[in-house]
Amino acid sequence: MPTPDEQIDVEGLRAQFLNKVFDEYEFTLDADDLAIYAKSCGETAAKFTDPNDPDFQAPPTIASSLHPKTRHPEGFPSFVGLGMDAGKAAAPTQPMRPGVPITARTHMHDIYTKSGRSGRMVFFVNRMEFADAHGNHLGSADTSVVIREKPTAGDQA
């Protein structure tokens, strides 16, 4: 299995995997979990913290917390290293509400390599798109995952 330090055929991976939906599933959000999520993050508005509020909804960043069921497209190489979230972008277009069936579709949006304080790294960006049962677009979330070389004992935060 390649490590981030090895030469990786990024262009080959991009040609093979980008912009193809590799995961799709339906889910609903739980009101109590959403309230705890919001309060833990410091939200104070009732529409995020009180399931009895008439406008109760998930905080706008909720989409960032959702994962595809399959983490990678089929055939995508596994890299040796420490995987971490490198960034998240949530772009809600409508509120997500508890109990409403939502469909999430995921495609790989970008792949690239770079070097940083953590050493050489491979990044891949997955984009999830969300829609309700009527096909209304609820938003999207980009997750940038970095595979970095495993830290050594001397590494610090």
């Binding site: 390599t113 304080r117 050489r120």
Partner: protein, 210 residues
Amino acid sequence: MILDLHAHSIKSDDGRAKVQNYCQWIKAKNIAIDGFVLTEHRQFDNESDYSELAKKHGVTVLKASEVETEYGHVLVFGVTQGLQREFDFANIHLSLAQVLEACDAHDAIAVPCHPGRKRVGMAAHLDEFGVPEGVKIVEVFNGGSRGSEDEVAQQMASDLDYLGIGGSDAHIVSHIGRCGTRFQASISNEGELVEALKAGEFEALKIKEA
């Protein structure tokens, strides 16, 4: 004049600042710089023309690159089409010697940036690879430095007799102008910037918030 020699826009993978917003911010907040240089990661932005924006806001906006070598990251000023044919800016395994040689051949200049930073700073690689030939200037003030990274850079520059520049390493609008470089000459384009750097008449600055 004072230029922030190290900034990233949305063209960089981790940049989140629009150039227009940098210009607005500098003017509205009276940031003590006359302009900035966009040093996008692993690429040179051939497409964008910021001359109208620069004129509108009265700010100098220049373009450069930040590339990756075995000695860490390096700013490349004076990028031309000819220089871009010499090596692949997207390659994270470049040879510093090759970058320096190519810059010499194309009237550009390569400046190791954040040299005190772990792994991607030059100081971390001197034991392994030795002192590289041809480096004359390094970045001694970087707005994104943590802990003693700037001190390490300054010590290395002092030990090896390098001149020092400053740059914010801004990735968001409000970080522009945290550090800069004061030039004696007036600079309006990339060629004049390279000349001024080669002439050695500049000093690195940390800039206080207005």
